[in-house]
Every structure is written in C-alpha cells, then in structure tokens.
C-alpha cells in the first residue's frame, strides 16, 4: 500500500521528522515500510518556465529556438514539439536534472540533462512532455500549464509533488492501518503528537434523504450497518488537480469527481464507499439481500459477467441486483457523465462473507480487501459525510438532509480486563500499572484501575483485532518497544527423552558422504505423466502450478535420473549420488493423516567410471556389482547380518535388478536401469540405482551394539575350487558352503571364476577362500578334512560340482 507523507500531515505534525525516521518508527511498530521515494527529489532541477519568444532553428527545419523565462533568468532552449508557442507556461528541465523517461529510448530509461549543442546551437535546458516527466503517457507535445502557474517555482511544488511516498506492507490483523488516518495514528503515538481529525462541514439541502431513497437490509448478520446519503443536482466532471494528484501519488487512477471522492475517503479513512446513479435504481430503493434463485449472472463495473451464487450478499434495487456487496458495483447503476443524482453507500459487511464471495468470484478489489480484514463499523457516518462534501465541493448540487443509517444495534467499545502481573510475566518485564496505562492511551485504548493488579481497558472499535488480554499484551510490547525487552536465558534445563533424534539418518549420511557420495535434494513433486505410469497409487494435487508438478513422487528414481541428466549436460559424467527423501503413497488403510502413507527412502545412484580416471589403472565403468557392493558395505557398516538379495526382474525401469530382504522384510531394490528408461532422460550411459526403505535400514542402525569376546582359537583358511555347470549360480554354492560349515562358519570370499582353456565346454571353475573356526578349540587336520569332504559331497549332491583343488 502506498502512503503519502503530505496526506499524513493532515492528521499529524511531522515537522522536522525525516522520511527515514518515519520509516524506522513504522517498521519497529509492526508496520513494515518496504521502501520510500521522495518525489521532489525526483523532479530536482525542473521548474515552471514561460515561453517568451519562438524562432526557427537556422540548421533544422523542425526545431525551434525558444527564449524561456525561468524566474532566475532567461534561457535559450531548443524545442522540437509542434505545440510550442509564445506565452505558454511549461515544465523546464535544467542542466543536472534527471529526466524520468527518455522519449527516444525504446525502454524510456531516465537520463541526465546537460547543456548541449543541437545542430550548432546550444540548448540551455529542455521543455518536457508529460511522458518524459513520468506524469502521463502523452509524448506528442510539451506539457502546458495554466497561465497562473508561477514562473520559476519547482515543478514538484506546483504539482503538489513535494511529497514522499512510503510503500508499506500491512499484516492481515491491522486493517485499521489500511488508511492514512490509521498510519497517522501510529505515528502520532510514536512521536507523542496529537492526532488531528479534520472536521467536514456538510451543507445539507431542505429535502430529507428519505424523500429520495429508501434502504432495506434483509440480512443484518452479513451487513451489520448500512449508511447512505444522497447528493442531487451535481455534475460529474474530471476531478480538480488536488484530488487527482492526491490519488495518483498513491497509485490510484483518477476517474471522475464522484468516484474519486469515494476512493479518496477510502484511502483517508479506510471506509470503502460506493456511488450509485440514483436515477438508475428502480424504485429509488436499496435492498441488501441474497440473490433470488433466478439471479445467477451479474455484470460488474469492469464489464465482466460474473456467476453469482445464493450465499453471496448482493445490493439490489426494487427489482434487480446492482452491486456485489463489498466487492464491486455493477454496470447497470454506474456513475456516468450524465449522472446528476447520486446515492452514496457507506456500509459495513461481515468479513468472512466478503472473503468467501471474493474468493469464489476470483475478484479482488480495494473495497473487498478492506472489508475482508474488517472495517470499523463506526466509520460509516464520517465517511459518507466526507464523500458527500467532496462531491458537492467538486460538482456542486445539494446534499439531502439527514443520513440513512440502517442497523439493529450500536457498536460499543470492547471492554477487556488485563493483569499487570500477567503482562510482565509474558513479556519478561517489570512495568507498573501506570506505565502500561500510559502506553495504551497513546493508541486510544483507555483504561481504569481495577482491584489488585487489574486494569480495565476500553478498546476503540477500529481495533477489531484486539479481543483478548493477550492481544493487549502484544500492544504493550509493541508500544514499549520490542527492542527494549531484555534478552533472558534462564531457561530451566529439562531432561527429556521423548524428543530425541534418531541417529540413524545422520549416521547414514555421514557414512555415505565419507564413502564418496554427494548428497542431492530433489523436488518431491513430479509430473502427471510419471504419476500415470507409476505402478503405485500416488497422491495428486488438486491445484497444481503445472502438469510438470502435479503429483507427489512415488519413487526417488525419476528425480535422480533428472539430476544425472543435468550433470551429464555439463559434462560431469562420473557420479556417485545419494538422497534421503520421502515418497508418498495412497494406502488402502487409514494412516496418521487420511490414507496417505509417507515413506522415507534412501536412493543411491552410480554412473560413469568406478574410480576417477587415473594414469595407471584401466577405466572400469560402474556395473551392477558396484551398486551391490555399496549396499553390502552399508549393511556391513550398520551390522545388519540377516539379509539376502533375491533376483527380481519384473520391473520395466531396470534391466537387471535384485530385491534386498532384511530380516524377512522387503527393504528395497537395486539394479541397472533399463535402456528404455534412460532414453526418456536422454542418458547415454549406464546408471546403477538402489532405493532402500529407510525404516528397515535404520532398524539395524539403531540396534544395540553388544561386545562379543574375541575368538580364542585361530581360524583355518581353506581354498576350495570346483568345476560346475556354467549356469549354476555362485551365490547358491556359497550359501551351501556356509550351511555345511554351520556354527564354524567365519567368512567366505569368492576369488576366482574362470571358463576357457583347461575347463570343459559348458563348465566353469569357481574358487573360494573359506574361513572356519571353533569357539572350543583349534580345529585339527581331521576336522578340516572332514569339513572339506562334507562340502565336496554336499556340492556334488546339490549342483553336481566337482572339487578340483584344495589348499589349507
């Protein structure tokens, strides 16, 4: 919201107070000033001049050499405008001035004026157009002022632009500050000045308002108060300069004197008003009601047809809807140049109703913005008086005698009791009752002392946000100054195991980043397409920004592949990535929230070469055994021992994949991504990927660690090599050996797989190093040869394997 310093000065004396100080005080009182601009500084070096002579330029047909009186002397200025002529009062830019727009620049950038020679003749300034001065869009000729414009005075002063405009952001609770008087009230309190509320003299005519119009409110809940006046015989015309200037300075377009009067009052007091053409109100009657069933469409002021529904509050005349209450008027009763009799509405509407209507219509307005935040119900009379006075002053006519004021009750001040002890306890201060009383008085909250430490406060009706003791405590804090409240840190220690961090996730992050993985964080919203393709039922957004982000992800794979692609496009082609992130599913069962299931997952991706390129080792691209190894490392690091990989090849995302099962629970999938899947991301190299359920993994991480005595007896290491059919899975051989070793099993490593010379066609040689040991004694030669022959026999039985070599 834009606030004008000049306008504020109507209500509060700001003499000698800098713009910076005003901005600081407002900000520190919770009225955030985002920026401010001094308009007279903007027009420094631009003055009113009078054209004395106009002569042709000797070297240019279209240019004129003008002698211009600028008060302090006469300047020779070259001008190309077709409308320049003797006797005109014009804006003159002098050397050093910044002209807001360069007419010859396509973007209209500002430029600094200098005395320059044009076609051999010096120009000592520039006569400006409306566009060049950022005062309008007219570029065709120079601006010409009335003849009474005093020669030599600064342009900013003449146009009443000697002002500072503050850009202010108002929080939703402070609707009282959506006006100049509201801001002025805060400043008056800040500088301990008195707020001066000007009087508006009303010259009423003879005829009573009831003679002209009638108001009937059918729903006092949605419209607690409806006040109105009638102005007759006035003339709709362009607004006088002071009114136009006041509105334009704060960014509002001037329309005509009547509409401008209502807007001016709204910006000054915060009360939205609406002016109807009285002669277009059938029956000269206003009915505040909900629409009839057949009233489903309505054309608003902006020319758009709106769909209205039965819950919206309407302003109607005797037969038709004429406005959407508190939101926007209609074309059918709009003020137009031939309007002479005006019905001025100054009403109060229920905030939630206005908000619902405005939301449903997708239609916001200055009025709706204020009504949905709450307007002081006691403002209607002052506002309608003021607007009537301005209309009369600018367009003439009569103000009908009296005000229509439909309401069922008065709107008294709220009474709230506060405890001084409580105020001090919550703020950590030691204020006395009289200090608090004094602070509150500065913003018109009056109070009387009660029993003990109590203070009975009376809240003005413009502070609709102050309803409870704690609201007044906030006001006390604000007025005292947050800055002055001391920092305390005497918090009592509490020992609380309810909220301890589960170490697992941090541990996994530490381990993986130590193992050479870079952590990524990706978007959990994904495209509609991906959601449709997913085998899992995912969560869809009802109001997505775009189809690209219309669903919640059901896997970390797509966003990881997108990251791979991004990096490949920058020629970063070797990647070890991990992400700890959530996926979102729709469950058949009830969950904590609805039936939405949120699962934390760990994703790992490998692509490129397994070790960075180096001078003395061959390049080995990551393959499935690298991803398997990373997972095995993780499992080993976190002492998960009851796990297995199961072949799992029924997914279109993977070319090869394995399912990881931990303690009998499905823990995730790992594998090599299929070429088809990669092609969707334009990825031209293998990607290995694993997605693991974090809960299952973490359950192991958080297991209690227990010491086991170190082995007392040495292990025996036995190398065994077998010849088996080439299609026998090595994993099965390993688990068979493990089984035979039973309690004596200590470790097994595969150290060779060989086919080719010396091995029969269709067979392979597989060699293991097996460690066995016993807790009771050192294994002797016969134990070991018994073990070897058991293994030999078992593997022969199970796989037709032949023991080829052994070494102990």
């Amino acid at each position: 919201m834009k606030i004008s310093r000049k306008w504020l000065e109507k209500f509060v004396d700001l003499n000698g107070i800098s713009d910076e100080e005003i901005a600081y005080q407002l900000t520190m009182r919770g009225i955030e000033v985002e920026s401010f601009e001094n308009l007279s500084a903007k027009y420094d070096g631009i003055v009113i001049g009078k054209v004395l002579e106009v002569a042709n330029h000797p070297n240019a047909e279209k240019l004129k050499i003008c002698k211009v009186d600028i008060g302090s002397g006469v300047r020779s200025i070259i001008c190309g405008a077709p409308n320049v002529s003797i006797g005109q009062h014009v804006p003159v830019g002098l050397a050093g001035a910044i002209i807001p727009h360069d007419q010859h620049d396509p973007d209209g950038k500002p430029f600094k004026l200098d005395n320059i020679k044009i076609r051999g003749v010096e120009s000592q300034g520039m006569i400006c157009s409306e566009y060049e001065l950022d005062l309008g869009s007219d570029k065709a000729g120079i601006m010409v002022f009335d003849e009474d414009a005093p020669v030599g005075i600064p342009l900013a002063g003449y146009l009443e632009l000697d002002d500072t405009i503050f850009e202010i952001s108002i929080t939703p609770n402070r609707s009282d500050c959506l006006s100049h008087i509201g801001i002025a009230r805060e400043l008056a309190a800040a500088f301990s000045h008195k707020l001066q509320v000007p009087d508006y003299e009303i010259h009423e005519g003879d005829k009573a308002v009831d003679w002209f119009a009638e108001v009937e409110v059918l729903d006092y809940t949605l419209c607690p108060r409806y006040s109105a006046r009638v102005v007759t015989g006035t003339k709709v015309a362009p607004s006088p300069r002071w009114l136009r200037s006041a509105l334009e300075r704060v960014g509002m377009r001037s329309i005509n004197n009547v509409v401008d009067a209502t807007n001016y009052v709204m910006l000054e007091l915060g009360q939205p008003l609406h002016a109807f053409d009285l002669d277009r109100l059938t029956g000269r009657k206003i009915v505040v009601r909900k629409p009839h069933p057949f009233e489903t469409k309505f054309v608003t002021l902006d020319g758009k047809e709106r769909e209205i529904d039965p819950d919206m509050l309407m302003i109607a005349d005797a037969e038709k809807v004429v406005a959407i209450a508190g939101v926007m008027g209609g074309q059918n009763s709009e003020i137009n140049p031939s309007t002479t009799n005006i019905f001025l509405e100054s009403a109060n509407f229920l905030p939630s109703s206005i908000r619902k209507t405005s939301k449903k219509l997708g239609l916001s307005s200055e009025a709706a913005y204020r009504f949905e935040r709450g307007v002081d119900p006691n403002l209607t009379l002052l506002a309608v008086d003021m607007a009537s006075a301005i209309i009369q002053k600018t367009g003439g006519g009569d103000i009908a005698a009296g005000i229509i004021d439909a309401k069922t009750s008065d709107f008294p001040r709220k009474e709230i009791q506060i405890s001084v002890t409580k105020v001090n306890q919550i703020l950590g201060l030691n204020l006395t009752l009289s200090e608090i009383k004094q602070l509150l008085e500065s913003i018109e909250i009056s109070s009387v002392e009660g029993s003990e430490d109590k203070l009975h406060c009376s809240i003005p009706t413009f502070r609709g946000d102050v309803n409870r003791e704690v609201d007044i405590i906030e006001e006390v804090a604000r007025l005292y100054g947050y800055e002055k409240i001391p920092e305390g840190l005497k918090t009592e220690l509490s020992f609380d195991s309810r909220f301890k961090e589960h170490k697992s996730i941090d541990e996994i992050r530490n381990f993986l980043s130590g193992a050479g993985f870079v952590e990524i964080v990706t978007n959990s919203l994904q495209s509609k397409d991906l959601a449709n393709k997913s085998s899992e039922q995912g969560v869809l957004l009802a109001n997505p920004v775009s189809d690209e982000m219309a669903a919640m992800r059901t896997s970390l794979l797509p966003s990881t592949l997108a990251v791979v692609k991004t990096n490949l496009s920058h020629s970063v082609s070797n990647l070890k990535l991990f992400e700890i992130g959530r996926i979102y599913l729709v469950s058949p069962f009830k969950q904590l929230v609805g039936n939405f299931l949120e699962v934390d997952r760990l994703a790992i991706a490998l692509t490129g070469v397994a070790d960075p390129i180096s001078y003395d080792r061959p390049e080995h691209p990551f393959d499935i055994f690298d991803i398997k190894s990373e997972i095995e490392r993780l499992l080993e690091r976190f002492k998960l021992d009851n796990w297995e990989f199961i072949s799992y090849d029924n997914s279109k995302e993977y070319r090869y994949s394995l399912k990881l099962v931990i303690d009998g629970r499905d823990a995730g999938i790992l594998g090599q991504i299929s070429a088809m899947q990669l092609s969707e991301y334009d990825i031209g190299q293998d990607v290995l990927f694993a997605e693991i359920d974090l809960d299952v993994l973490a359950s192991g991480v958080e297991k209690n660690k227990r010491y086991k005595p170190l082995p007392k007896f040495p292990f025996a290491f036995i190398d065994l090599s077998f010849i088996v059919d080439a299609n026998v899975p090595v994993g099965n051989l390993m688990s068979s050996i493990r089984k035979v070793a039973g309690n004596n099993f200590r470790d097994i490593n595969l150290f060779d797989v060989y086919t080719g010379e010396g091995i029969p066609e269709g067979k392979k040689s597989v060699a293991f190093s097996v460690a066995v040991g016993s807790d009771e004694r050192t294994l002797n030669d016969s134990d070991i040869s018994d073990f070897i022959s058991s293994v030999e026999q078992q593997l022969k039985e199970d796989f037709g394997a032949l023991l080829r070599k052994q070494k102990t």
Binding site: A515, I520, N543
Partner: protein
Amino acid sequence: MPARAGHSIFGENYKMMQEIHSIRETALIELSRLQDKQALEKFRLKYLSRRGIISQLFEKMKDLPKEEKPAVGKALNDLRSEIETNFENTLKQIEFKEIEKRERIDDLTLPGRKRYVGRKHPLTQTLDEIKRIFFSLGFGISYGPEIEDDYHNFEALNFPPDHPARDMQDTFFVKSESGSYLLRTHTSPVQIRVMENNAPPIRVIIPGRVYRNEAISARSYCLFHQVEGLYVDKNVSFAELKGTIGYFAREFFGSDVKLRFRPSFFPFTEPSAEVDISCFICRGKGCKVCKYSGWLEILGCGMVDPNLYRYVGYDEDEVNGYAFGMGIERIALLSYGIDDIRLFFENDLRFLNQF
C-alpha cells in the same frame, strides 16, 4: 713366554691358528666388497659350503693332537659363526638394495591416485549446524507428515476459515474424496501434533519440508525447508525468546551480529515478531543483499497464542511458551551468499561441490 709355548708356537697348532686368522681377514674383506647375489653365492660356496674352506679346516683339525683340538675347534667355530653372521647381514643388505633399486619411483610429482570425494548437501550442512546449536540449548527434535489436514495446518493454529491470514501462504491441495487435505505450508502443524501427544514441558525443534503454491523464480520455489521451534512450560517469557534467538543468531552468524525484533503478525503467536540480523555482508552500511536496509530478515517468532492451548487440551492459564520458525534455504542463501534458490534443487555438482 714359557718354553713349552715355543713348541706350540712353531707346531701345527700355531700354523692352523694363523691360517684361521688369515682366512678370517680375507673372507671379511671379500665379503665387504660383494655387490650382488651371484657373487655372494660364490662366496658362500667358497667358504661356507660343505666343500668350502671352513669345512676343509675342520677336516684338517682331525690330524691335530688331541690336547690342541679344543682351542682350534673353538677358533674354527667362532670363525664359521662370524662369517655366517656377516654373510647373512651382507645378503640382507644386498637384498634390500636390490628391492630398493627394483621399486624405485623416479617421479614423485605424479599426482595421487584419485578417489571420489563425497559431501552432504548444503541444506543438510546448514540444518546440521542449526540442530547442533539448539541441541546444545536442551532442545529435542520431532518430525511430522508433509500431507496434512486443514485442522493441523490452519484451524488449530488459529487460522479461522475464510480469514485473510490464509492468503499469507498459498496452499497446494491434495485430491481426495475423504476430506480436505493439503501439502503443509509450514512446519507449524507439527507443533500441534507434538502438543496433542505430549504433556508440557515441551522443548523441540521441528525440521521438515514445506510447500507453497508460488511461481518458481530465483527467490521462491514450490517447496522449501523450515525449522520450527517450540518451548512450552510455566513462566516462559518474551525475554526468554529473545535470549534464545539471540544465542542462536550469534552462534550461527558470529558473535558480533546485531539483532532487531520487529512486531509482526502470525495467527499462532501473540505477540509476534520478525527478526532481522545486521547485514554481515555490508556490516549494516547497506548493500544489494540487504536491499540497502542494513538488515536481513531471518525468522519469525512469538509467544504461542493461547488459543492453541485450547485446541490441544492444555490449560491456558497454566502454561505459556514461545515458537519460532525459519527457512533453511533462506539461512543457507544468506550464509553462503547464494543468489538463486533453485540451485539447491538442481543438484548441479559444480554447485554442490562448493560446500
């Protein structure tokens, strides 16, 4: 010298002893000159093998008179053991030299063999530091769901239905036939969940992902991360809140940072404040980052609005507390000097590897 010795001096014994002496001399000199294993082997064959000089001397000893054998035997044994020891040492030294020669690296400027270096995401690093600071103040931690109901995200946080305060946060709604669900717009609903399930005192931080239905730009993304803080107990004051936030800011941004608490509005706190820190880039003089104000907004906070206690079943006369919330991205942007929030989610390694 006794005459008897004279006989001995010039007898077989004497000659043998002299021979032993000279063999010792010669052998040790030869040994010291040897350079390689072949020569060493020759030496071994010459002196120490079964047919070698020392063995021959032992043969000769058989012919000596019985009473002279012990002295010569001892001398011979000493000789053999000395030469053997010296031989072994020389052999070892030659072997070491050969190994060193064989494995010599000439160019030590060759780079080390590269390995991948991993790191945590800058957002994780930032959160880790925030967690560390609040843990040191005795805060615990809690988490909550990202898909929320209207009740926890708005209503119980004192956002009445049809209230403009809801406009402060553009909300993504979730398609559902069973109720009104949304993506949480802040981590504050977890405050409600924590209080619903736990009796006071409560002191937790609540990190998590939140969503806003906003156009994506350098300044805003459709999601970001927050850390919420909640402390509810008896006798918690605004002064305590200022102390806690002050401690955090000085720990995180440096001990010389200045703080500014400004009145603000959040439906779930009363009084509410926004906290600025003095711009550490321009030291308060005004720069592009602080928009020439000298101040950087880092978080919102306030005293828990008593209405919340009613929603969670606490006695509002018995407890009070404070809450605060900050955006992790915002803190990271400021502390690392990053100018585009999208970088966090693009995961360009050229970016991630800078932290």
